[in-house]
Symmetry: C2
């Protein structure tokens, strides 16, 4: 029996709906495995701007620092997307949280549940056996470099930057993970054009000397974007920079059938943050249509990585597996053969998982 | 009957083999349509470094400026990829050519030949009807901003930059093209994080006011990377920045079955350059295995765009269509059902196209 304090940070859009399901599942786990989980909530993103003017209020950050783990939803709102000159934006809250908590490693496991082999737009025979673990660097690159306007506002710029230390620490995590898996690492960069990618490659090459048991391949990001679809089984662990990781993992979500199935863990110096890789999806917000499984799987990652609760984590994954085996689907993972009575909304499929 | 001077720039790796086929096809067109095409050759990339020390010798650039169009192969060599600290690199030749010739618009049409519907790793029912025209900006962004090292070499940086004028001119080309097609434009950026993307979006929004007949959608690059695979028929014309275009068009090559089928046109202020989107592919160089169809289709684009020869261009496309209908394939576009006797090498399939 363990005592843990979990902070729930639903954020914007469907973040609210899916995180509610994730929390219920954590509660159920606590009851069944005799743990004591306490909870608190904090604001981030658009809802935080509305309430306080600040996309990441100091109080939220304080609560994050003082919790054992964070279950996160999503941030974003169309209002800001259509107004490129908005000064305060929901995403600033997310980026500040990552930076302040030192969450430099974002793990995105891409694994297909057997039952969903047909749900992807990629052919089942291409997908079969695909199992990829992405390490996306999360606190550097063009996300955090200097940015601004010059020439009387006529030119806009963003600086992409990496230091050796930043590459080493994420690289080491990826090499270590490869050791516990199939011992293959692909490092993705654009070293034929970018100086920051050349430094990235230099550091990965140095680390490779320390891990002679790991087979390392260097790919250019454009080639990776292609090979991910052509031959997804070629990958085991992938390590890459913040921006490339953002693009490639969204693309790779199609390997798992839907973005609605993908969880991620952001870890680093302190509290870990667990979140679906899907965004706020305002087009379906409030309709009860969102797939909560990415949030539930994020809760499973939280238990595994932050609390070392392997059995509890596997109980969740197997619950999802059973729900899928029974034939239940959310809209995003249904296909032509799915009977419409088996297509459930957010809460209903949540109830099935809880059973 | 027209007189035209065409410069052949094969570059590195399979660039040599495929461009030779492209040139033969141009020759055949000249004979059949009674044109007079004269040719010259120029060096670029690794072969130019080997011969002169310079990835784009002044003589090559001069020849490009003085020709009516350039048929280009590829640049690159593994030697430099594995040595991140190399000072002189083949890609510098390519980038300098693009900048010096003012080739700011790179057109990449993604269209599937009916016969290849089964060759892709994406399901045929998802692909059916997909027809996308990418406009990739080609002389700005993080490719051409300041780059270097600082903090005693401990940090590397690259500056991404766009000016309003740069976005306007590529944007206008994309809107104009959408008008001649299905009147839908998707502009891709990362405006929720990047300042250069926000300026990009501002300028596209301004242009949209001038083109009320075009339906414009704004997407974040991570979402686009996902939707391209999930629902490729949703796109008509896509316009995006240099780096995002590099990644997304390689990914989109899977919609057309293989990178070996995709041609591109780089146009701007002066001579147009036409090239396959595949690279130098040193793993298959010299083996006679490369698919020359991307080079042949580049020749077709050259005739259409630089010389206004629509009929000649269509003759080439229909020749390729017939070769595919007869069942001939190169290795990259063969599938399980292809009889091995129908799988031809570079020259042999070239001969079939010439017939
Ligand atoms: C919302 C956005 C800023 C964010 C990112 O680009 O990192 C999101 O796409 C993600 O992947 O977590
Ligand atoms: C070779 C490389 C520099 C080039 C690019 O990134 O532009 C290539 O990938 C391309 O797409 O033409």
């Amino acid at each position: 029996m363990a005592k843990k304090h979990i902070l729930i940070v639903p954020g914007d859009g469907i973040g609210q709906e899916v995180t509610a399901v994730g929390k219920k599942v954590l509660d159920k786990i606590a009851a069944r495995f005799n743990h004591e989980f306490t909870y608190d909530e904090a604001l981030i993103g658009h809802v935080a701007i509305e309430a306080t003017g600040d996309p990441l209020p100091a109080e939220s950050l304080e609560k994050m620092r003082n919790s054992d783990a964070v279950l996160f939803g999503a941030v974003g709102h169309p209002k800001y997307d259509n107004d490129p000159s908005a000064k305060v934006r929901p995403e600033q809250g997310l980026l500040k949280m990552r930076k302040e908590l030192g969450l430099y490693a974002n793990l995105r496991p891409i694994k297909l549940f057997d039952e969903l082999l047909g749900a992807s737009s990629i052919k089942p025979e291409i997908l079969k056996g695909a199992d990829i673990l992405f390490f996306r660097e999360l606190t550097g690159d063009i996300y955090f470099g200097e940015k601004g306007r010059k020439n009387n506002g006529d030119t806009a710029y963003d600086v992409a930057e990496y230091s050796r230390y930043e590459v080493q620490r994420i690289g080491r995590k990826a090499f270590d993970a490869a050791r516990t898996r199939r011992k293959k690492l692909v490092s993705v960069d654009k070293a034929n054009v970018l100086e920051s990618s050349r430094l990235w490659r230099e550091e990965i090459q140095k680390l490779a000397l320390e891990y002679p048991d790991i087979e390392v391949e260097y790919q250019f990001v454009d080639a990776t974007a292609m090979i991910l679809i052509k031959e997804p089984t070629r990958f085991d662990v992938v390590v890459t920079a913040n921006l490339f990781g953002d693009i490639l993992t969204d693309e790779a979500s199609q390997i798992a059938g839907s973005m609605g199935m993908l969880a991620s863990a952001s870890i680093g110096d302190g509290t870990g943050v667990y979140e679906p890789i899907h965004g706020s999806a305002h087009d379906i917000t409030g309709k009860g249509l969102a797939n909560p499984m990415a949030s539930v799987l994020s809760a499973a990652l939280l238990l595994d990585i932050s609390f070392g609760m392997k059995e509890e984590s596997e109980a969740i994954i197997s619950a999802i597996d059973q729900v899928l085996k029974k034939g239940f689907r959310t809209r995003d993972i249904a296909d032509k053969t799915t009977d419409s009575s088996m297509i459930l909304g957010t809460d209903a499929i949540g109830e099935e998982i809880l059973k």
